[in-house]
Subunit: 497 residues, 4 copies
C-alpha cells in the first residue's frame, strides 16, 4: 500500500529549532503519553497547560490542547515542551471556553509531525469530537484496513484515529452508543479523554492498563494520567477512573458512570510504579516514592552487598537507593553528579570521544568514589549500554568494586501497550542470563529484585500466578490481551527460537 | 454545527515570517489558483516548481507539490512564494520520482492554514490519490453534509476535498469509474490534475470555465493552467485540454481521452483574457497580450478622449494603453511609476496619511503629468477605491483633466467559479450607474469597453446572446451552471432588492 | 593583518529566512545606498521607514533606523526589505522621538552582517552620534590603519566607521569642528545624514557626486537621497543640498548652512540619470524620466534601425524605448514580459536548463515577436551576459532580426564612489570594441548613445571636456578625486596593459 | 550622557525562541560567568563547546566561542544554551584552528543582546585580541569615562571592554606589556582567558577571587573555571592558576608564568564552595561535594532539631542534607520532588494561582511528609520569598513542624565581584534578625551555619579575622578591594542608615 510522508515545510523548519533532546541514547523505556482534561473551569486551556506541564515525564516531544467555548472547538499544537509551545499568553486567548483537554507525547514517530499530535479532532455529523489517548491499540492496523476499504480517509498514522472513524461510521443513534460501539471493537490499552459539544468523556480500557485519575477544583472536574498533575493545578484527588469505566461529565458538572465491559479483573501496568510515574504521584492508593524506596529495601534483603557507599544512578535510582541504604546501613552518597544541561551531540575531540557523551550528562564525583566499594542502584536495564558506561565511569573514578543492583526484575519482553520498548532481541535480559549480563556491564556483581519482591514492595503479599494483580508482561511475557496486529514471532522474539 | 480552527503553532509562527503581501487593498479580482503537473520526467518535482513559479500571478500565498516515485507519494507544502517554500534544493531530493503535480493558491482563507494547501492527498483503498484544483464547486456544502452524515471525516475546509471523499466512497469497481462517478455529482468550475499509482489524470469541467493546457518536453507530458508555464519549463504547447475532457496518462506516456459529459457548448471565462492570465500566454488560440491591446483599440474607438497623454495604471493597464495610444494617436507615457517593493502597511505620519499607502505602490511622474490632460487606462473597476486614489494622485500631480477608460465592461456580478470577488453589494458597478461612478472616482469622464467590443477584441464577431461563447457572468449575471450552495439572494445581491 | 568574521548565529539564521534575492546575476550596476532623515516630526521613525521604502531601488538587502527622543538614541536594524524588517508596528514604539534617520544598503559584503548595517552609532564624549552614508571613501583603508595604531577599535568593516573615529579622536573643541576636521581628512564620495543630541547634520562631498535633497513637511525638515522619497512621505521639495554644503538643523528647525570646502565645481554622478534614480525623481532640476526618454530620442537619431517593433528590456529600458519609438515612428510594444516573482535558483530539468533561469524573470511574448525585426532597448551593458540571453530569447521566439540599442555610452571603467561595479577586466566594453561586443551578444547590430548625446539628453549642450559637468568616470576613466587606497593598476585595469 | 539601546531585530526575534528560563524568581545568587580555553588541540572549538557545556551552571543565557587558525580569528555567539547555539555541527567547521576560547554568561543585562556576549574581540594594531572574563571590574565606569574622552568608542556595555581599550591605547611596546599595563589600572575580580596571534594568556586577579584551573589533554593546554570541565573534556587537572598569576602559552605549548602584582595573600570566593561550583569540582584542593556535606555536619552540630525527616530543597541542598542526616541520625528522604521541566510562566487559574508557580518546579511528596516533623535544608536565603513558599508547601502537605537549616551564614551584603546579587536592602538577612526571619518564612525554627562552622567545613581551623583566608564579603561586609565605581552608601545599603 502506498503512503505519503507529508514532511511539511513548517514542521521541518520547526524541528531545527527544537533545542532539546531526549538524551538517553534510547536506552530507557518510555511511557508514550500523558493526558489531562478539565470541564467547568474558567481559563480551562491554561489549567490544561499547567497539568500537562506536570506530566511531561510521560511525553516531552509534542503537545496539543483543544478547547470548547460552548459553540466552537479550538486547538493549538506544536512540537516541543509545553513551556515552549505555549510560551505566548495570547495562545490561551485563542483557546477560549470552560472545557479543554490536552496531550503530551513522547515521540513524533514516522516523520508525520504535526498531524499525529493529539488531541485528534474531527467534525462528525453531530458536532466536533476530540480525543486524547494514552496507550496502544493492538488491532489498529486490522481495523484501519477495513475502514479504508469502506471509504474512510485517514489523516494521521496514529492508532488513535481508528477510534474516531469507528465512531463516525457507527450506526448507533447516540454519540455515546457510537463511542461504546467503537470501544468494543478495539483491543489493547487505552486511557482516553474525549470532548464533545455535550461534555467530556473519560475512560480506561477493561484491564485498566494505563492510569487515569479524577479530581476536582471547586465545581470543575479534572482528569489526569497521574495525581501529580492534580497537585500542580490545585485540584483535590477524588478517585481513580476504574478499569473498564466510562465517565461522562456534562457542562453542569453532572457525572454518570458506565461500565460497558462488565467487570474484568484489573491488570494495571506495574512499570508505572517502577519508573514511569512521578515519585510524588499516588497510584492505586500507593505512594510511588514509597514503592520505589521499598523496592530498595527488598533488594537490600534479597541481594546484600559488602560495600562502602550506596550510589544512585540519578535521578530515577534515588528512592530505591535511599531504601537500600536504610536497610543495609551503608551510607547513601551522591557518587554521580547529573548535569542539568542535556543536549544534542557535539563533535568530540578524538582521544576523549569514548566517554564524552555520557560525561556530558553524568560525571563521577571522584573525590568521593576513589578507593571505595560502590553499590550502584538503577531502576532497570534495557539494552545495557548505559549500565556499561556508568560502571566504567565508576571504575575510571577509582572505585575499587562496583556492585550493580536493579530495582526491577529483568526486562525480557517488549511492551505493546503504549510503552516505547526496543524489539525483544535488543533487550539484554532476553539475550543473556544473569552472569552474562554482569560480565557484559563489567560489574563485580549484579542482582535484580525478584518479581515477588516487586509485588511485595507495591503492597501485595505476593504475585497471584493464576491471575496476576498487575500487567507485568515486560518481566514475564504474560500479555493480558490479544495482540491481533502482531504475529506470534514478533511477540516471542527471535531469542525464543 | 461546530467547527474547529486548528491554527497550529507552526503555521502561525510561519505566517509572521511571510514578508510580502498582496498589496492591493482587496480592490482587485483574483484568480484563486494555478495548477501544473508532469509525468515521465526526471526531477519531476523541480519541473513542477519551475512551472508553478510561472503561475504565481494566479496564486502567490501558498504552494504545494506532490510526487510519486513508483512506490510512494511525497509531499511538501508551505505558505509563501514558490521561491520561498522551495528555497532549499534538498527539498527536491525529498520529492523523488518521475511524476509530480503542484498547486499555487491565492489565499489561505479561514485561518485553516496548512491543511488547505493543495494538492490534497489521501490514502484510498487502492493506493494514494492526490488532487490539485483550480475553480470552485458550487454544491460542495451540500455534498459535504451528506458525506459527513455517512461517516466521512474532512481534513480541510476546501471544497476540493469533497471530490476525494466522493471517490473514496463510490461503489464503482475501478478508480477511473469512481472518479467519473464523483465528477458527475459536482457542479461548478474545475480544472483538475490528479495523480494515482497508475499515472496522471487531467480534466476540465464540461463548460471549460477554467483553463488547462497540455504540452510535452521530449517524452514527458505536461499539464498547466497557462502556456506561459510551458514556455518557462521548455515544453512545447500541444493543445488545450478540451472542456469536459478527461485525459489519462500512464507511466509509459500512453494517453487516453475520455468525454464522460457528452459535448456541451464551452463557456471559458472571458476575464482570463481581461486580467487573470499572463499577457505572454496563449488562450483559446488567442494571444492574451494582443487581446488586451485590441481591447484598448476598441476602447479608443468607442470612447475617444481629447487629451495629451495616454497613461496606463501599471502594470495590468499597459497593453490596453498601448492599443489606445496607437488607435488614438495620443502619446503613450509612464505617468505613474510603480514601486517594486510592495509591503505591509506602515504607520503613517498624521497629515500625509491619506495618500501614503497608495504612494508606496504608485507614484505620480509629476514632471510629465503637470498641466496635461490624461487618459488613464485600467483593466477593471471592482470597489472603485483604487480608481479614486489614482485619479486623485494625477490631479495632485497637476493633471488638468483625467479621463478614465476601463478595458472591460462594468463588473456588476460576483463570480462563483474560483475567482475571489467581493459580494455583489460591494461592486461599484452594481451600486451606481456610469455617471455616478465617474463622480465617485472624480474623473472628468469615464467609459468602459462594451461587452460586444470585448468579444470583438478576443476574436469574435459579437456576443452570441442565446449561447454566449464565454462565461461573462461577472459582466452580465448570466451564470452558466446551477449554484446549489448559494441562494438566489446571494447571487442577485442586495442591490437587486 | 588578522581579522575576524563574526558570523553570529543570529544573522546566519536570519539569512536563511530572506526570501528574495537580487535576481540579476550580478550583471547590473547597483547604487549601494539610500539615506533619509527627518527632524521635528511626530512619529519620526515611521516617516523614515516610509521614506526608505521609496529608496529601496538604491539598496534592498539591509535597513536600519536610529531615532532620538531628546534624551536617548534608539536603533533597529535588520537584513531584508524595509517592509520585512519593520513589519511589526511595535518597532516604531521602540524608536520614539521627533528626530530619526535611516539607511538602506545594497549588500552586506564580507559576511559581517548586522555590524555593517547603518546608521552606525557611537557614544562619543559629548553624547550619541549616528551616521548614515551613501558613497565611498577612497582613502578609508589608509586612515583606518593610522587610527588603529593609535588605539581606535573598529566595530565594522565599513568605510563609514572611519568618519566616526576621526570625529572621536579630533582635538577640536566643538562637535561641528570635529566633524569638519574629519571630513577634511577623507576623500571620495559621500552624502551623509548624522544625528547628535543637538540636531541633524546633512552634507554632500565637495563635488556632490552622490545626491541629497531637502524637503519640508510643515515645520519638520527632511533629507533624502531622491525626491521620490519626499513625494511618498508627503513632503515638499525645497532644494538640493549643494555639493560641499553642510547643513545643520537644530530641534527648533533652525537651519545653518556651512561651506567648509570653498566652492569647487560640482561633478554629480551622471549614472543616476541613466539608471540609479527612480524615473519619478527630479535630479539637478531635471526629470529622470524625461532624461531617459530623451536618451532614447538621441539614440534613435544617432543609431536608427530598420525594424518593426521597439521592445524595451523591462523595466529599466522602458522610458528610453518610448523615446526611441516616438522619434523613429516604430511602434513600442511589450515583446518581453517580466515576472513579478523573482526568486532563488531552482534545480532545472536537464535539457531546458540553459534558458530556465532567465525565463523565470523574463519571457518572450512569442505571438508578438515571431517573424518581426526588433529594436531592443536596454539601459547599459555591464558583463554582457544578460544581453546575450535576452537576444537569444528574442531569436528563440522567432524574431527575424534583433538590433540592440543601449541608453548609455559603453561602461568601460569601474566606479569607486559607492557603486557596485565589477573589476574593470570583467566589463564587456573594457574587453572588446563595438563590433566584437555585437558578435558576443549575437545581435544583428549594436549601438550605444554617445557621451555627447547623453549630455544633451540631460540638458547640457555638450560635455565640457576640460571640466566636465558630471562625474562620468565609468564611461571616460576621468576620476574627479584622488583614489589613495587603490593603486594605479586597479584603477586602470589589466586591459590597459 | 546619552546611550543607545540597539535592540536589533535579530536578537529580539531570537529571544522569543529561547524556550527556557532561569526559573528561580530571582531569589538565588548567580555566578555570572564561566570561561574555558584550549591551545594546541585539533578541533579546539568543539573541545571548548564541550567544556562550556559543563560550565553552564555558571551562566546559561548566552555563549560564545572564538577560534584562531594561525591566520585568522573566527567567532560564533548566540543567546541560549550551549547545545542550542552550537547545535549544528557545521558551526565547528566555521571555527577552525588549534586554539579556541569561550564564555558562558548568566544574563544579557541591559537589553544590549549580542554585543555583550563574550569572548569580546578587537582588531588591535598588532593583530586580533579576544578576551573572556569571569568577575567584575569595580572601577570600569571611571576608566571608561576617561577612555571615551580620549576618543575610544565602546561597542558593548560590558565592563570587560575596558580592558581591551586599555590594551589598545597603552604605549608599551609589546602586547604582553600593554596587557599588564591594563591590568594594573583595573581593580576588582577577574579570571581571564585571552587569545592573540601568538598564543593564549590566562590570569587571575591578585586576590584570586574568581577560580581558574589548568589541565592538559596530551600536549594541549586547557584552562577552565572549574575542574568539572576538565573531567568532561577528558583533560587531566594540573594545577590552579595562582592568584595574581599570568600564564602565557605559545603555539608550541611553551608556558611562561608571570607575577606582575607581587604576592598578595589570596582571598578566593567562599560562596563557590557553598553554591556556585558544581559538587563534582575540586576547588583549592577541596572537594566541593565534601565541603557541602561537611557544612551539613557542622550545621547538625550547631543547630540540631528534633524531627522525623531531613528533607533537602532540591538540588542544591542535597549534599548538606546528607551530611545533616548522617550527623543527626534523622533519615534523609525526598520530601520535595523537582520537575525537570522548568519553563516560562503560564496563566494560572484563579484560585490556585498562589502556589502554582512554585509547584511547577517543586511538588511536595505528600504521602511521605504528612504528619511528620521536617528539617528542611537549603543552601542560602537571599530575599526569602522561595523559603516562604517551600515552608508553606510542606505545611500544605501536612508536615506537623518545619525546621529550616541553612548551609551558609546569613547573606547580608551584596557582591561586587561578578555575582548577581540584589541590592542590599532586598536581602532578608540585611533587613531582619534571626527571629524575624524565622517568622517571615513561617518556619518553626531557623538556623544558619556559623561563619566559623563554614570555615571549618572547607578545611580551615577557623576564620582568620585579621586576614581572612577567603572573600566572604557577602556574609561579613569585609570587601577585600577598593570599590571605586560604587559609593559608600551603595555598598553599605540603606539598611545601615
Amino acid at each position: 500500500m502506498t503512503s505519503i510522508s507529508q514532511h511539511a515545510a513548517l514542521s521541518d523548519a520547526f524541528r531545527d529549532e527544537t533545542p532539546w533532546d531526549v538524551g538517553d541514547d534510547g536506552d530507557t523505556l518510555h511511557e508514550e503519553c500523558g493526558i489531562f482534561g478539565v470541564i467547568g473551569a474558567r481559563s480551562a486551556s491554561s489549567v490544561v497547560a499547567l497539568g500537562l506541564h506536570a506530566l511531561q515525564h510521560r511525553g516531552q516531544e509534542a503537545v496539543g490542547i483543544t478547547s470548547f467555548d460552548g459553540g466552537e472547538f479550538f486547538s493549538h499544537r506544536g512540537i516541543g515542551h509545553v513551556a515552549h509551545v505555549f510560551k505566548n499568553q495570547d495562545i490561551f486567548a485563542d483557546l477560549p471556553g470552560m472545557m479543554a483537554s490536552g496531550h503530551v507525547r513522547y515521540s513524533t514517530t514516522g516523520g508525520s509531525g504535526l498531524r499525529n499530535i493529539q488531541p485528534l479532532f474531527a467534525d462528525l455529523a453531530d458536532g466536533g469530537f476530540s480525543i486524547a489517548h494514552n496507550g496502544n491499540i493492538s488491532n489498529a492496523m486490522t481495523l484501519k484496513r477495513d475502514l479504508v476499504h469502506k471509504g474512510s480517509i485517514f489523516q494521521s498514522t496514529s492508532d488513535t484515529e481508528v477510534i474516531i472513524h469507528l465512531v463516525a461510521t457507527s450506526r448507533y443513534p447516540t454519540l455515546l452508543d457510537r463511542f461504546v460501539d467503537a470501544l468494543r471493537l478495539i483491543e489493547g490499552a487505552y486511557a482516553l479523554i474525549c470532548t464533545t459539544p455535550a461534555g467530556m468523556i473519560a475512560c480506561r480500557d477493561p484491564l485498566g492498563i494505563r492510569p487515569l485519575v479524577m479530581g476536582r477544583i471547586g465545581s470543575s472536574v479534572v482528569f489526569a494520567s497521574e495525581t501529580v498533575a492534580l497537585d500542580v493545578v490545585g485540584a483535590d484527588f477524588e478517585r481513580e477512573v476504574e478499569p473498564g469505566e466510562l465517565l461522562v461529565v456534562d457542562h453542569n458538572g453532572v457525572i454518570s458512570s458506565h461500565r460497558p465491559f462488565g467487570d474484568p479483573a484489573p491488570r494495571p501496568c506495574i512499570f508505572e510504579q517502577v519508573y514511569f510515574s512521578r515519585p510524588d504521584s499516588i497510584l492505586g492508593g500507593q505512594s510511588v516514592y514509597q514503592s520505589r524506596r521499598q523496592i530498595g529495601v527488598e533488594l537490600a534483603k534479597e541481594a546484600p552487598a559488602d560495600a562502602d557507599l550506596v550510589v544512585p544512578v540519578p535521578d530515577s535510582g534515588v528512592p530505591a537507593a535511599i531504601g537500600y541504604a536504610a536497610e543495609s546501613g551503608i551510607p547513601f552518597e551522591l557518587g554521580i553528579i547529573r548535569s542539568h544541561y542535556v543536549g544534542r551531540t557535539f563533535i568530540q575531540p578524538g582521544d576523549s570521544k569514548r566517554h564524552a557523551e555520557v560525561k556530558r550528562k553524568h560525571n563521577a564525583n571522584r573525590a568521593l568514589v576513589a578507593g571505595k566499594r560502590i553499590v550502584l542502584i538503577d531502576d532497570s536495564i534495557v539494552r545495557g549500554t548505559t549500565s556499561l558506561k556508568i560502571v566504567q565511569m565508576m571504575r575510571d573514578a577509582g572505585a575499587s568494586e562496583v556492585h550493580m543492583r536493579i530495582a526491577s526484575p529483568p526486562t525480557d519482553h517488549s511492551c505493546f501497550y503504549g510503552v516505547d520498548t526496543p524489539e525483544r532481541s535488543k533487550l539484554l535480559a532476553a539475550r543473556m542470563d544473569l552472569e552474562a549480563m554482569a560480565d557484559y556491564i563489567q560489574a563485580d556483581s549484579l542482582a535484580f529484585v525478584s518479581i515477588d519482591g516487586l509485588y511485595r514492595a507495591v503492597g501485595q503479599q505476593d504475585r497471584n500466578a493464576k491471575c496476576p494483580q498487575f500487567c507485568d508482561a515486560c518481566f514475564t511475557g504474560e500479555y493480558p490481551t490479544q495482540l491481533t496486529d502482531y504475529d506470534a514471532d514478533a511477540v516471542a522474539g527471535e531469542t525464543e527460537a
